[in-house]
């Protein structure tokens, strides 16, 4: 009897611990997910205002303005645009007319980026990215569909 109780308690304990662990894990997962939005979606007010998210597209030519440590530029999916402000050094592969993804929060219509990720290899354009830009150029602004294959931008090796 005693042994059985002990075992039941042990199994119960293990199940509880497992349940709590999974709950904590999923909670951490949910609260740290970062969603991606295209400039069109941001323009349509689909993006959250008090939560970190990612926005991506092309750096519009002629919009990069440096002011000491601060830099302003405009991200476009060729249909709509989002102004972005960032403090610090931009990645090596950041260029006007090239793809970019920024992570940060929206404040008064300006995207305050905390992180700017640029494409890894100048010569290599992921086929899905090329496809997305093609679609965006047709005014469909379907950039979100496949431009940023989670790691396509700024992925470390």
């Amino acid at each position: 009897m005693k042994l059985r109780h002990k075992r039941l308690a042990m199994i119960g304990g293990v199940l509880c611990a497992a349940g709590i662990t999974v709950a904590l894990l999923l909670n951490a997962f949910q609260s740290n997910m970062v969603f991606f939005y295209s400039p069109t979606q941001v323009a349509a007010n689909e993006a959250p205002t008090s939560r970190t998210f990612r926005v991506g597209g092309l750096v519009e030519t002629g919009t990069v303005k440096r002011d000491g440590l601060h830099v302003n530029f405009v991200v476009t999916d060729t249909a709509k645009t989002v102004p972005v402000r960032y403090e610090g050094i931009l990645p090596d592969l950041f260029q006007e007319g090239k793809g970019v993804v920024a992570q940060g929060q929206l404040k008064n219509g300006v995207f305050m980026a905390r992180e700017v990720l640029a494409k890894h290899d100048e010569n290599y354009m992921p086929p899905e990215a090329a496809d997305a830009i093609e679609k965006a150029r047709k005014g469909q602004s379907r950039l979100d569909q496949s431009m940023v294959k989670s790691g396509a931008y700024g992925a470390k090796p």
């Binding site: 904590l24 997962f29 740290n32 969603f35 090596d92 890894h120 100048e122 989670s150 790691g151 992925a155």
Partner: protein, 662 residues
């Protein structure tokens, strides 16, 4: 001609693996010693053929044979010789060749050091390894032939990705692959044991050194990758929870669980089927990692212009390998038995806790890595899960793991009592709290993370010292015996202690960087200086320099502390001539107490540059800790018992074979 020779020997290797993968296996089932005896020579032949093929590939690179597509896309006449050779594994095709070479090398090593294995066991293991090699050979030949020709022949190659032109490229991939592919040895041992149906302590003792060595390679490989990313990619951090990093981290976590559960299987005969399952999982996760990196579902320096055919091939390969192994497991594992019983508080239960935590960690990494990919492929939206998630999950898991790391080695096998264990560890606990509090007070900037990290560090150190003291403490209080007893410690025990101290060193480095790391972006004109954490950085200006295949702007900063010169730092901004990519080459002054890290950002006006300055305390301890872990593993493998028992069982095995032949 050389390329064709390489291609041809790969096809010959396919033939050899077909024989190796079938005949010895059949021989082992039917008791035919003649068929089983084929395994060894076939393995050696396989290694020979793949080495020839690999040598052909390297030769093509060294000789700048741009008629080979692989060479034309990844090399250049300006590329220094060293990197031309390393470029042979710098592409997708080449890295698979490296994988094959490692696979054949591991198989040949098993053949060479397996004289003590009974013939049927040896035959089965080599057969399984032959089949694994076959799958990769077909992958290479059918989807990623490194010897494809190109016509018309280009005059010049497209050069190696500048980020790969670094000594890290020469050593990181081979080390990592040694680890990845080394997991196939444990896998083959497990599958062979399932086929043969004999899983016992002896089996665990055979398998243990192989697994530990593979784990050590994997540890070093991952650490090298992390170090490389730190100094070459210029991201300044040591781990980014990037999908590719996670792909290598998952097999490592499982391999770590495996070497701990093997200890139980060897010593107590318990956890048998669990150990087998872990061995299968370890290699499966290696394959999964390969799929993630090679199929193009994630894009990074590691993935190349991708071909959906390849991803599909690996997926099918993964499904067949894992499916077959798990089916075999489901069929045979019930026969394996559970092994000796143990109580709720025993070394077994501590190691079980270790395994559970490591697998929870694996699950957490897998969730964070695969979920965004799955969501994306189903078209349900784009998300990314970054460092905050992994940090939030990993710190508590590691804390629990480290707590048990202190208890485990002290607890007795089979049964222990809590009050007694508490008494034995009371000094360790006291020392931990006091030293952590002292360190936090000295360092200032106390956060929950830093306190937890420091507690973890000192808990490991003090519990290892407590264990060491128990082992060397002379019974009669004779001080002179201490040294003698120290010399008598088994290497396996010393290895374990060293590896655990490695974890402490690692955790300390992570905690210090996490808490006291300072980053500053500054606009600097020549003559300007800025002070970060007591170090004064004075910018002297830039000059243009020419490298073998790049042009660069080189900045010069003089670092002083209290008026004394600390170092001259020369960060560069390079443009590689062929691919025209800008590359930031950071300047790093590395010392035991921490690193100074300087990068050229971008020019603002004339000679004024944005400069990024980092002071990273104790960052190199992170990699040194990993190195200690690996060294501990290797030292444990040299333990006497693996050699002594080996010789003994050798004679027994020869006897058994002799009777089998008769």
């Amino acid at each position: 001609m050389i390329a064709e020779l390489g291609h041809f020997s790969l096809w010959l290797a396919v033939g050899v693996t077909l024989l190796l993968g079938t005949l010895p296996l059949v021989g082992a089932q039917r008791g035919r010693a003649d068929l089983m005896a084929l395994a060894k020579p076939a393995t050696h032949l396989l290694l020979l053929l793949i080495t020839i093929s690999f040598a052909c590939l390297i030769t093509s690179f060294v000789r700048n044979d741009f008629s080979v597509l692989n060479v034309a896309s990844n090399s250049n006449t300006e590329l220094p010789l060293m990197y031309r050779m390393a470029a042979s594994w710098g592409s997708h095709e080449g890295s698979l060749m490296l994988w094959l070479l490692m696979q054949a090398g591991w198989a040949a090593a098993v053949a060479a050091f397996s004289r003590y294995l009974p013939l049927p066991v040896q035959a089965r293991i080599l057969s399984v390894m032959g089949l694994l090699t076959l799958s990769f050979l077909l992958f290479v030949l059918l989807t990623s032939n490194p010897f494809d020709r190109i016509f018309p022949v280009p005059l010049e190659g497209r050069d190696l990705n500048p980020q790969l032109q670094d000594p890290g490229m020469i050593i990181h991939p081979p080390m990592l692959y040694m680890g990845y592919v080394g997991m196939s040895v444990a896998f083959s041992f497990a599958v062979a044991a399932l086929i043969g149906g004999n899983l016992d302590a002896q089996w665990a003792r055979w398998m243990r050194p192989w697994t530990t060595v593979a784990w050590a390679f994997l540890t070093v490989g991952i650490a090298l990758g992390s170090w490389w990313a730190y100094y070459e990619l210029g991201w300044g951090g040591w781990w980014f929870w990037d999908a590719v990093e996670n792909a290598s981290f998952m097999p490592w976590l499982v391999a770590t669980a495996l070497i701990h559960s093997l200890a139980v299987t060897e010593k107590r005969g318990s956890f048998k089927s669990w150990t087998v399952l872990l061995a299968i999982m370890g290699y499966s996760l290696s394959l999964l990692g390969t799929f993630l990196v090679r199929s193009g579902v994630i894009t990074s320096v590691h993935s190349f212009a991708s071909d959906p055919k390849r991803g599909l091939f690996i997926l099918v390969m993964l499904a067949i390998t894992v499916g077959a192994a798990l089916a075999l497991y489901a069929w045979r594992a019930p026969k394996v038995g559970l092994g000796a019983r143990f109580s709720m508080l025993s070394r077994e239960s501590m190691l079980l806790a270790n395994n559970v935590m490591l697998l929870v960690a694996t699950g957490a990494v897998m969730l964070g890595t695969l979920y965004p990919l799955i969501l994306d492929s189903l078209g349900l939206g784009k998300i990314s899960v970054g460092a905050p998630y992994f940090d939030a999950v990993f710190v508590p898991i590691m804390a629990v793991l480290v707590f048990f790391m202190g208890l485990g080695p002290m607890a007795r096998w089979k049964n222990d009592s809590l009050p007694e264990l508490a008494v034995r560890l009371r000094w360790a606990a006291g020392v931990t709290v006091v030293s952590a509090a002292l360190t936090a007070w000295i360092g200032g900037n106390i956060t929950i993370g830093s306190v937890v990290g420091l507690l973890m560090t000192f808990w490991i150190v003090s519990s290892v010292l407590a264990e060491l003291w128990e082992r060397v403490r002379p019974a009669g209080g004779v001080q002179t015996q201490v040294l003698h007893r120290l010399g008598q410690l088994p290497r396996a025990t010393v290895g374990m202690m060293v590896a655990h101290l490695g974890v402490a060193v690692f955790v300390f480095g992570v905690t210090m960087v996490g808490t006291y790391d300072i980053e500053r972006d500054v606009a600097m004109a020549p003559g300007d200086s800025t002070t970060v954490n007591g170090y004064t950085f004075t910018y002297q200006g830039t000059q243009d320099v020419e490298g073998p295949n790049y042009s660069a702007v080189r900045g010069h900063l003089v670092v002083t502390r209290d008026g004394k010169l600390v170092s001259d730092m020369f960060p560069e901004k390079r443009i590689y001539r062929v691919q025209r990519n800008p590359m930031t080459e950071a300047a790093i002054t590395s010392r035991v107490r921490g690193d100074l890290y300087v990068q050229m950002g971008e020019p603002i006006q004339g000679n004024t540059w944005l400069v990024r300055i980092w002071v990273k305390p104790f960052v190199s301890w992170i990699w040194f800790g990993c190195l200690l872990m690996a060294l501990g593993g290797v030292w444990a493998v040299t333990d006497r018992r693996y050699r002594v028992r080996a010789t003994r069982s050798e004679s027994a095995a020869t006897g058994a074979t002799a009777s089998a032949v008769r």
